[in-house]
Symmetry: C2
Subunit: 340 residues, 2 copies
């Protein structure tokens, strides 16, 4: 058991002053080569490492980033997190993570907790409840205090800050057009309740594609599923009661559930009904047939978000750079659940 050693310890042992030790270890040329060597050898032997906390206090920066995501079990957030972690680490930052669990209160409490000195900035994707309540005072307050925030994916226009989002609308249009090219004309959409900005955008993209191609919108072909429930029955009804030859799903769970129902009903994927889902996760890769999906490039989003944040934090006080929004281009990965 050898507790951590401090500058003071070294100073005492070597009978010099603390500041001499500090300077010597920083290779200051104020100190004679002789003492420098002595001190360095001693420090090395006892494996001296400066105390991060003391440095944080002195420098008024922690080199920690707070990441707040709604959920860590979802593949998309997981990949974004990876990207953040990767870039942050490469820049010497640690990542403190909080799961809001889609709860407004948890989001607020966790952020306030971290904001009291533990982190230099936040990367955040809004919880469902926050988007539903449409209440962003906690974010405004943090920004007011000078703590930078980067929003990704689940963002809001009501907060002025750097953002990283997907071209949800555009890629949805592209997906639907992929159906149309293959001859589909009874195209369905399976989505979530619409307080999510992303679901909303995806729906817009879907509608846009229909419009651009002179097709009429049939509201019956839009299925809005409630959150966190077993939706199998709803989905089954949906496919029984409607004539459908293609379906766009806003996440991969819906996609794989639809596929399962469709096959159960005796249809063939993709010949009778084609499917495209969002999120190129593990489900999409291991289903049969493999799912055509919208790859959201989560890792790229994460890296970009981290870069935005660190750039802003390190541009010491020349902070008033205008806020940027980076749009990450999703791509369609064509696999077995669509024709072509």
């Amino acid at each position: 058991m050898k507790p951590k050693i401090t500058l003071k310890d070294i100073a005492r042992e070597l009978d010099v002053s603390i500041s001499t030790v500090s300077k010597a270890l920083k290779n200051s040329k104020e100190i004679s080569k002789d003492t420098k060597d002595r001190i360095k050898a001693f420090a090395k032997f006892y494996n001296y490492r400066p105390n991060n906390i003391a440095l944080s206090l002195k420098n008024r920066r922690t080199k920690n980033i707070g990441v707040v995501i709604p959920d860590i079990v979802h593949h998309f957030f997981t990949t974004v997190f990876r990207g953040i972690e990767k870039y942050a680490n490469s820049m010497g930052y640690n990542v403190i993570i909080c799961i809001s669990d889609e709860s407004f209160d948890k989001e607020v409490i966790n952020m306030e907790m971290l904001a009291n000195g533990s982190i230099d900035g936040f990367i955040l994707s809004l919880s469902a409840e926050t988007q539903r309540k449409n209440d962003y005072t906690h974010l405004k307050e943090l920004l007011d205090q000078g703590i930078p925030i980067v929003l990704f994916d689940r963002v809001t226009e009501q907060i002025a800050c750097d953002k990283v989002v997907l071209n949800d609308k555009g890629i949805s249009t592209e997906a639907v057009e992929h159906f149309i090219t293959a001859g589909a004309n009874k195209i369905a959409l399976v989505t979530t309740e619409n307080f999510f900005n992303v679901s909303e955008s995806r729906k817009e993209g879907y509608l846009q594609a229909l419009k651009d191609n002179g097709m009429t919108v049939n509201q019956d072909l839009i299925l809005t599923l409630p959150h966190s429930l077993d939706n199998t029955n709803l989905i089954t009804e949906f496919f029984q009661q409607n004539e459908i030859d293609a379906v766009l799903c806003v996440n991969e769970i819906f996609a794989v559930q639809c596929m399962s129902v469709i096959q159960q009903l005796g249809y063939n994927v993709p010949n009778d009904i084609s499917i495209i889902g969002f999120t190129d996760g593990i489900l999409s890769k291991y289903s049969s047939p493999k799912l055509t999906t919208v790859a959201q490039h989560g890792e790229t989003m994460g890296e970009k978000a981290a870069k935005f944040l660190i750039d802003r934090m390190e541009s010491l006080e020349m902070e008033e750079a205008p806020f940027k929004t980076e749009i990450i281009n999703a791509t369609l990965i064509k696999r077995g659940s669509t024709i072509n």
Copy 2:
């Protein structure tokens, strides 16, 4: 833009001393009700919150826990992490996370980085490379410095610390016996290279079950797959060249891959071949048929690990409590990929 306010600021504004402010905010009865009220009102108005960093420095404890896991995309680690986060937060701790990415170096570097004051203790699952190298000096050093560590899942006997593991061997035996009860007698095992303690234990459990039931071991029925590669061909060969009526897989990816191959080859699951996988993740739930799996109760493991760590950290210096190993009982979730 209103920067954070400090005790000093309050003291200056209210023309009292810093310690008076400090005491007042802690409701010390040394201070007159009058000044307390004045100070509290002011503090509340300016939304004073003590600076965590200063507290950490003073108290020599950060209330941060470092979590090091090999991978965040794997469902199992994700759920364990959830459990850790949940318990830690409820006890007022933050969680700093590092992904070792199965790399020894990343594991070492990250841990050393955090160990310099950023965290009070670690929860860790060993990286593949660390287990392969069998080198744990970094952990020993940290323990030497008085930093507590809790290992989970991927553990080693070479380190004396609290541990949380699964009854891998027992549950594997149980799984194989489930096959046997249903009439199987050509039971295969699909596993990873054996430097993982968990794979090793699962194999032992498999062998034990065969032995207990008077069945002979056929080495041909044990398929060892390399890490991170497309194994489809190996798996296909395996099922073509061997007569098999049941297969136990050490993770759910292998399980779902096997199922896919089996169905491709024209067999029926579970009638021709039954399957059981480890990890009750999303793949198992959304495959068809749904997979019978070993639920590892990751969240429980995480909570338990966090409890071990926090207990030890908070039992100030009466530390020499003996190290405990908690064995979490996995359970078999019977679904469509097995008979019964």
